[in-house]
């Protein structure tokens, strides 16, 4: 019964979305307040219906109702509750339902929080958001219905993919989707702005928090995915440049550019059409990501079950949404004229440079990811692009970006001179020099020295920028708005990230050997000794594994428990690496094939500062949330609304 009610709620939500995508548009065209207000109610209603449908689906998983095909295929009565729940989105149908729930959720926030928005803009944005909803709900209802029944009912489910049975991964997709889907709002507002032929400060002010939210969630989502791959897949890598990772990273790069260009638009009323284009691009890249993961056009470890029908539908959806948006952009973008020209030596100019570099970085990732596909289409040969390409092309652009990131924020808006920033640049340059020399000397790596020096340059530059904003006084520091702290946190996070990635790339160490219990491997100053290996059955898998003791200079440092697990239901094998996470050296061991007589293949690792890669990502994401608290991002209340729009209108 729950299943049918959920199904009906889903169909109702589809109908609501259909009306919601037309009526407010008509209302905005005719300036009819009642028709526009219908959109407000429909947006909330659509979300409630979808949330209800999602709860219904979750219930079928929790009570193990295997008459539902999805639960039968992806759940199992023996599974812990957490994984029964995460199983809801650990598959194609459920995860796409989660996607629409979130999209409708973001849409519902527009009427709830956007009371100060111009009515026409709001109505149009709500309608566009609903059009996206119609597309995805149609996709679910016609190709991927999660509420499909199964007859005869199986005795038990066939289990969640064991690789996905992990807390890190249980929370990875929701965060990732909150990010992906969060960029649907900037998209809808970009279309609404094109329809209105006007982008102004109100638009930028209203949208910036949503870009921040989406960006922060996406940052957390990507970091969780990276952390999961690091300890679950047991490869000892934190980023593989795998196509599926890349397609989550591309919206992040575009979103980062958007985050900065929207600041220019909000403060200086320029880069209007560029910002609109970025808003469209960012969400389009999220759609491309969904298409790639779910159509299976690129080979990846993460791909969902491949289904050509779904691929065709998603491509049509991508083509309609993005193609439509870009057609509108081609027709209307000339009406979004910039009010004031930009000056190169100013914060505005620095942010333009930031955008150029980020988009260049995005282009290199894009090219590397889709190159195999292009080549296959052109001459039919199968190639794959690996990490060396990305390291060679992406890293130098990022270094350049960090170089300008260190000094850009020191400039004033509007107009500034190089002379004013010469002093701080010299200080940052000294920091670079000292760190470079020390690293090159003691770490014996010139490239590592340059990269660590750049991290120091960025950190010092950021702190100087903060000091100058606060006039070097404690009182000034206290008076800083939340956005300043967001900027400081995010940029320092980037500095830490750079340092951590550098030390991982230059000073990480690994060793592999065949060990019988009691034997040991040496890695630098560390000795890894394999203890007794035992096996057995647990929950829904068979396992064997043991402890690896790590000692340094005879002193015990850590005990790493590593295991191989075999899931008979899915016929799948996973490796649980033994991890000793620490702020300094992370020690790591994973056990492979073998037996007690011949020995087990054991791989051991020493990873300096690797945890800071994820901690710095968390710092960046938190900084995004901190920025939200900035008062200047609040929309004026209704009474002031008329006043402000009038002023912006006059400025045009």
């Amino acid at each position: 019964m729950t299943v049918e009610i959920g199904h009906i709620a889903l169909i109702l939500a589809f109908c609501v979305a259909l009306f919601q995508s037309v009526i407010p548009l008509v209302g905005a065209q005719k300036n009819n307040a009642r028709l526009m207000e219908f959109g407000d109610r429909a947006a909330v209603g659509q979300f409630l219906l979808l949330a209800f449908a999602f709860i219904c689906l979750t219930i079928t998983f929790v009570v193990s109702d295997f008459s539902v095909k999805l639960a039968a295929n992806h759940s199992h009565s023996d599974k812990p509750l957490l994984y029964k729940i995460s199983g809801v989105w650990g598959n194609h149908e459920g995860s796409i339902l989660l996607w629409v729930v979130m999209m409708a959720g973001y849409g519902a926030f527009v009427p709830v929080l956007g009371k100060g928005l111009p009515k026409g803009l709001k109505a149009r944005a709500i309608a566009v958001q609903a059009m996206l909803g119609v597309g995805f709900l149609g996709f679910i209802l016609f190709t991927s219905n999660p509420f499909e029944r199964l007859n005869p009912v199986p005795l038990d489910g066939s289990g969640l993919n064991p690789i996905l049975q992990d807390p890190g991964l249980a929370f990875h997709p929701p965060f990732l989707y909150l990010g992906y889907v969060g960029f649907s709002l900037p998209f809808s507002f970009a279309i609404a702005a094109l329809l209105e032929g006007r982008v102004d400060a109100v638009w930028a002010k209203w949208l910036r928090p949503w870009v921040l939210i989406a960006w922060s969630f996406l940052t957390i989502g990507i970091a969780l995915g990276s952390f999961w791959a690091y300890y679950e897949l047991g490869w000892g890598g934190w980023w593989m440049w795998d196509p599926v990772e890349n397609v989550s990273f591309m919206p992040w790069l575009a979103g980062t550019a958007l985050l900065h260009s929207i600041m220019v638009l909000g403060t200086r009323h320029s880069m209007a059409s560029w910002t609109v284009l970025l808003a469209i691009t960012t969400f389009a890249l999220s759609l491309v990501g969904t298409f790639v993961v779910r159509s299976g056009v690129l080979v990846s470890v993460h791909a969902f079950a491949v289904d050509p029908e779904r691929g065709v539908y998603l491509l049509a959806l991508l083509g309609l949404a993005t193609g439509g948006a870009l057609t509108l952009y081609a027709m209307r973008s000339h009406s979004l004229r910039d009010i004031k020209p930009l000056n190169a030596t100013s914060r505005d100019g620095a942010l333009v440079l930031n955008n150029i570099l980020l988009i260049t970085a995005l282009a290199t990732v894009f090219l590397g990811t889709f190159y195999p596909l292009f080549i296959d289409a052109i001459n039919g040969s199968k190639i794959s692009v690996g990490a060396p390409y990305f390291n060679l092309t992406f890293a130098p652009i990022m270094c350049l970006l960090i170089l300008f990131m260190g000094i850009g924020p020191m400039f004033k808006w509007r107009q500034d001179s190089l002379k004013r920033v010469r002093g701080p640049i010299m200080i940052a340059l000294k920091a670079f020099g000292v760190v470079f020399l020390l690293t090159a000397l003691f770490g014996k790596s010139v490239l590592g020295g340059i990269a660590l020096g750049l991290a120091a340059w960025l950190a010092v530059g950021t702190l100087i920028a903060l000091g100058r904003k606060a006039n070097w006084s404690l009182k000034g520091l206290r008076a800083q708005p939340a956005a300043t702290w967001g900027f400081v946190g995010a940029h320092l996070g980037m500095a830490i990230f750079t340092a951590a990635v550098t030390s991982m790339s230059v000073w990480a160490d690994t060793e592999i050997g065949t060990l019988k219990p009691g034997e040991s491997l040496d890695l630098g100053a560390y000795t890894y000794t394999l203890q007794d290996v035992s096996g057995g059955k647990r929950f829904n898998y068979d396992y064997y594994g043991g402890d690896v003791l790590v000692a340094k200079g005879g002193r015990h440092i850590a005990t790493l428990a590593t295991e191989r697990r075999f899931f008979p239901v899915r016929n799948q094998l996973t490796t649980e690496a033994g991890l000793h996470l620490s702020f300094g050296q992370t020690l790591f061991a994973s056990i492979g094939e073998g037996d007690p007589e011949g020995g087990f293949v054991v791989q051991v690792y020493r990873h300096p500062f690797v945890v800071w890669i994820w901690l710095s990502a968390v710092l960046m994401a938190l900084s995004g949330f901190v920025s939200l608290a900035d008062r200047r991002l609040r929309l004026p209340t209704r009474a002031k609304e008329v006043n402000l729009t009038a002023k912006v209108g006059a400025a045009e």
Binding site: S273, L277, I280, T281, A284, V288, F291, S295, G296, V297, L298, V299, V306, P308, G311, V312, L315, L318, G319, T322, G323, L326, T327, Y329, A330, M331, R332, S333, H334, F370, L373, F374, D376, A377, K382, S384, F566, P568, N571, Q572, L573, E593, G594, D595, G598
Partner: protein, 176 residues
């Protein structure tokens, strides 16, 4: 409308064109590094422990090298398909018994029938690793000269055999 505004749209259409094309291709055909390369060298005992086998066993006949194990549920699914090929004299069926014990493998082959002309026993993934196997079952088509020509991941269904593997095997057999 201005021309500059059309640039993003044009770029996007090119991308959609490529994506649409890619939908018509099956990426799992992606050959792995091994396609058109010689079968990796190995030296392993056969299942009966009467003989030592190496890559030369693949020369002279077109072979189907099938990775299986008694623990592998999906292998029982494709087993009838392999049994149907048992009597094809022109095609050599080579089993690679992976991560298994001799006892279990023999019991499994007695129970379900033994379609293989020869079974390589590989309990410690000595051959599996150079072959780049991600899971069982997986099947390689090897030509007369010992070159790998195709890799199929997963169960050989009757459709896959009829539409993909059989035509390939027959075309390889036609080459002298």
């Amino acid at each position: 409308m201005n021309l500059r505004g059309l640039i993003p749209l044009a770029g996007f259409f090119v991308l959609v064109g490529f994506l649409a094309f890619s939908l018509t291709r099956d990426p799992s055909i992606l050959p792995s590094e091994l396609i058109d390369k010689p079968f990796p060298e190995f030296e392993l005992a056969n299942l009966a422990e009467t003989d030592t086998l190496d890559a030369s066993l693949l020369e002279g006949k077109v072979s189907l090298v099938n990775v299986f194990g008694s623990w592998c549920v999906a292998c029982t699914v494709e087993h009838p398909q392999l049994m149907a090929l048992k009597d094809e004299t022109d095609l050599q069926l080579v089993g690679v018994d992976w991560r298994d014990t001799r006892e279990n493998a023999n019991r499994w082959l007695v129970r379900h029938g033994n379609p293989y002309d020869v079974v390589v026993f590989d309990p410690h993934s000595k051959l599996i690793v150079p072959l780049g196997i991600t899971g069982a079952p997986e099947t390689f088509v090897v030509d007369r000269s010992g070159q790998i020509r195709y890799k199929h991941i997963g169960v050989i269904t009757p459709e896959i055999w009829d539409d993909t593997l059989r035509p390939l095997v027959e075309s390889l057999q036609a080459v002298q």
